[in-house]
Symmetry: C2
Subunit: 383 residues, 2 copies
Amino acid sequence: MHQEQRRRAQAKLAAHGIERALFANLNSVKWLAGLAPPVQLGPNLFAGGPLLVWYQEGRFTLLAVDTDAAAAEAFGRQPDCAVVSYPGYTIKAPLAGAEHLVTALQQVVAGSAGRDGQVGVEMRDVPAWLMATLQETLPPSTEFIPIDGWLEPLRAVKTEEELDKLRKNFALTDVGHAAARRAVQAGQREIDVWTAIHSAVERAAGCRVPMGNDCIVGHRPANIGGWPLDYEIRPDDAFIVDLSTVWHGYWSDSCATYYPGEPTAQQIAMHRTVSEALAFAISLVRPGAVAQEIDRRVRQFIADAGYPVYPHHTGHGVGVSGHEAPRLVPYSQEVLKEGMVFMLEPAIYLPGETGVRLEDAVLVTSGGAEVLTKHDKSLQRGR
Amino acid sequence: MHQEQRRRAQAKLAAHGIERALFANLNSVKWLAGLAPPVQLGPNLFAGGPLLVWYQEGRFTLLAVDTDAAAAEAFGRQPDCAVVSYPGYTIKAPLAGAEHLVTALQQVVAGSAGRDGQVGVEMRDVPAWLMATLQETLPPSTEFIPIDGWLEPLRAVKTEEELDKLRKNFALTDVGHAAARRAVQAGQREIDVWTAIHSAVERAAGCRVPMGNDCIVGHRPANIGGWPLDYEIRPDDAFIVDLSTVWHGYWSDSCATYYPGEPTAQQIAMHRTVSEALAFAISLVRPGAVAQEIDRRVRQFIADAGYPVYPHHTGHGVGVSGHEAPRLVPYSQEVLKEGMVFMLEPAIYLPGETGVRLEDAVLVTSGGAEVLTKHDKSLQRGR
């Protein structure tokens, strides 16, 4: 369970001479531990602190409030792992989860309290009060090294275990698109399409599935993105459905454009061009290709067809987060490697008129690209 | 827009001689600013940091990444408020939202950099790197005072503006329960009921509505709570539906128990007792009542009826969070005041057999209690 991820993290820290570290970024914790913590709608309802991973000389210890610790049981059974749980919500005494977490962190860190040296810390996510705990527990000579963002590049090449989660997640997203194609009808509202999608995904999964991103009709002012609202679908809309599902902690992404009525000649031409641009983008994917070069050539493809170039990225990685390396953007000199998974999403927008976006996920293989999204992106008149 | 909330916060800080403070707890920010930030499924997708509020001598300044700042425009127009926005996601250069936030915070705080004295900080939520920014920007003689939890007691009595949000939110939750009553049928699954509820709520709201809490049938081992799964509903289930919706940043809560078939004599008796216990609990609510006393008497009511006493709280406040003061629990000596809003949720559980829970929200009025939840909690055979 995510042993390879921990091996990579350990190697990276070791290369900098760091033998101890505190991880607090939720994406880092998910990636190191293989956990899918429940989505919190704000600060922890059950009076705990953030999930933390303390690393020390090859061992990874997860600190979790009691209600989350149950989900981490399998993690704790790994040979290189442990779980330390602390009490959270109770009806017996005023809530003291924060104090219990301090005590738990002190105990976990105390094993190395006699040592000098460097300690890596994700400073952007470790709260100030826990940083103070580290400073008070470890010797004054300890040097704290910010390690924010260190894991993101290590996350770009996916393991077989991650690919399995991602494939299952993309299959769920496909279910959402099939529902969207049925639901996009003139007179329905954006929110009606959204609930049809979300329900289809959760019924297929057999559990709640957090969903990110947007779902939007073509007649909003910018007609690029935004969450679904009360707007009624018009017969001449090009209805952009951009979906991300989160499954076992891993994000998908995807986009298609649906037509509630007979598409106009302009929409047909735009849809064909975007479809060709997407096929072209996929054809450019291979180990050794450079991210900014793919970005540049796909933009050029749209421009050569006589359309304005989309203002967003050509693509982005997905994994424990919805946007990560590799990023297919003008500045990125990142070189593609076998095992990377990312989105490609060329588009044409005519603000105030209409818009078309199509998006697939690809896995970089030795021979090129395997398309992981299987949703139907063809142009079909709605019902 | 939440001016009264800011007045209360200012008075509390002033009573401790504090004229400057940094708030980073999302509940604090929502309460001070009247904002409903979008739910983030993990660390900010658009490369920003947490929402922050810097307080200084009567003025409240919100620091928000560009994508969130638009939602804060109305806040910024208040006479005692300002919004400082910083760049987040871009395709033009490597992401640097974190660095931009540091710069923005330095600028906002710099106005007081020449001053000595105390600065309040929500240490449990301010990340270590922003705490370092404060320490580096302000004089070494500055004393940082932890103010975690200071606002929670101030939040217990709701303003008219908050009551308006809460009433609208409870009306949405009622829509969810009406859908649940229709959807609970033998042969359907928990997740099917859940999607029917969530869809009904979002279609009524005309937008996405985050939902918390649980939805569960009676034949799970503990039959108290948990998120909806693939379990099929049995004819003899007592199906507990516990719903929270989040509307304009404010939480609701609620519970009812539905019967897919003909309820058993035992379920009928239990439902009647819980219904009477809830009515009894509501009858105890008035300004001056003590939380632990209501808790004790409702537990006693269940025990006197010959049933095991529920292991959870008798109730809890709702507002910008789903669980807050006043807490109706054995330890709480909190005195109820006019304007408080809280849940009452007596229950009977027979582990492995069946369970009944009913829950209403009440507003403490001068004359007693106004029930804010209007959902049908009566015992009816399913269809």
